[in-house]
């Protein structure tokens, strides 16, 4: 019985790690592409500085939100807040 319980807890931990890690991976790629394109666009059209910056931050915030949510739920799973 104890073995089963520890197996379940271990799988929980692996799942939480995957959640956090894959979320961070996707957001990292997304933010990299986003900021690279932002610099490209800025180098091409320095006049558009202001509108590009606000749109960049909008996109960065949208990208940033998803891994944050998965991070929280990962932490909650690690702490065993959800009853299994």
């Amino acid at each position: 019985m104890n073995e089963v319980v520890s197996d379940v807890i271990g799988l929980n931990m692996i799942g939480a790690g995957l959640m956090m890690g894959l979320g961070a991976l996707g957001a990292a790629i997304g933010l990299g592409v986003l900021s690279g394109r932002f610099l490209e666009g800025y180098a091409r059209q320095p006049d558009l500085d202001k509108s590009l910056t606000s749109k960049f931050f909008l996109g960065a915030g949208l990208t940033d939100a998803v891994p944050m949510i998965s991070l929280v739920f990962g932490i909650l799973i690690v702490l065993g807040v959800f009853p299994s």
Binding site: F57, L58, L62, A65, M68, P83
Partner: protein, 315 residues
């Protein structure tokens, strides 16, 4: 029942990590049916009511939840802490802006506060103008209200996590969460009001006919595709408030959660680590606080602009 009581005693002496987090994630909920505070009791173990707290009778938190209660959501509870904090912050926002706009001067030197408010107003106004190109007396006020209000509510996250619950416990309130935007009820209700506004804008600009046309003929303009179009458009319509509310909630909840995790370094050896973890996170979190308020405002304006766009403009 005797079993749960001994468990409660154990936990209050031990103070485990889960207990601490659970206490920090518990809202100050009042059951509207009889006015009792959820998960709380008085010193003698009797039920705690809201009137007890208002008359300064101390209530304490009950950490162990009975098994049969724990998986059911009680629909009659009201989160008093979120409502109180958000109402007070909305009042602060409103009074400051009303005062400045009443004393507004263009001759002579403007005061610091007026300059600051003008900066905020011009920032929001510029962003709204760049997205919502037609005239409306509603969009810019909605935008500035959501921006400043959410910014103020998010800023509550920078108050150290233990101050407010400790202060509340001192005057006998068992739980108090000071961050309203980490309450999914608050964020979803704001998102739902944006949803209502989307409908309002669609109906006033396009009428019922235009709305039905948009829902059934939009991606593929052919009668055969009507059911498919309808499913597609309904999903995109319903995902707007859902993503709007859950994004804000998720970000603020994550930030709060990480502050709580940092506060868990409470042994003698790891205690000194806390400033080195919480200060950088707070600095990074300032960015998120402003960004999420900004994103909520921008997406509101984008959705309203899309709702009131004409057919020719859209394609």
């Amino acid at each position: 029942m005797a079993n749960t009581e001994t468990q409660t005693e154990n936990h209050s002496t031990e103070g485990s990590a889960q207990q601490y987090i659970g206490h920090h994630l518990n809202f100050f909920q009042v059951d509207v049916r009889d006015g009792s505070v959820v998960h709380a009791q008085k010193h003698d173990g009797s039920k705690c009511y809201l009137t007890d707290i208002l008359t300064f009778n101390k209530c304490e938190a009950v950490h162990t939840v009975k098994k049969e209660e724990s998986h059911l959501v009680n629909p009659y509870t009201v989160n008093v802490d979120s409502l109180l904090v958000s109402f007070v912050l909305g009042l602060v926002f409103f009074l400051i802006f009303a005062r400045v706009s009443k004393k507004f001067t263009t001759n002579g030197k403007p005061g610091r506060l007026q300059t600051f408010i003008e900066m905020v107003v011009l920032f929001v106004d510029g962003n709204v103008k760049s997205i919502y190109t037609r005239r409306s007396r509603l969009v810019a006020p909605v935008a500035i209200t959501s921006f400043v209000w959410i910014l103020l509510m998010n800023t509550m996250d920078l108050i150290p996590v233990d101050w407010v619950p400790a202060l509340a416990g001192f005057i006998g309130v068992p739980y108090f969460r000071v961050l309203p935007t980490a309450d999914v009820n608050i964020t979803m209700s704001m998102a739902l009001s944006v949803f209502v506004l989307i409908f309002w804008f669609t109906f006033t600009r396009k009428g019922l006919k235009g709305f039905i046309k948009e829902m059934t003929l939009h991606p593929f303009n052919h009668p055969v595709f009507i059911p498919f179009n309808f499913v597609l458009e309904s999903i995109s319509l319903l995902s707007k408030p859902l993503s709007l509310g859950l994004r804000l909630f998720g970000n603020m909840f994550a930030g709060e959660m990480i502050f709580i995790m940092i506060a868990l370094f409470n042994t003698a050896y790891t205690f000194a680590l806390q400033p080195f973890l919480s200060v950088p996170w707070a600095l990074f979190h300032i960015l998120i606080i402003c960004l999420q308020a900004f994103i909520f405002m921008m997406l509101t304006v984008v959705y309203l602009a899309a709702a009131s766009a004409d057919e020719e403009e859209k394609s």
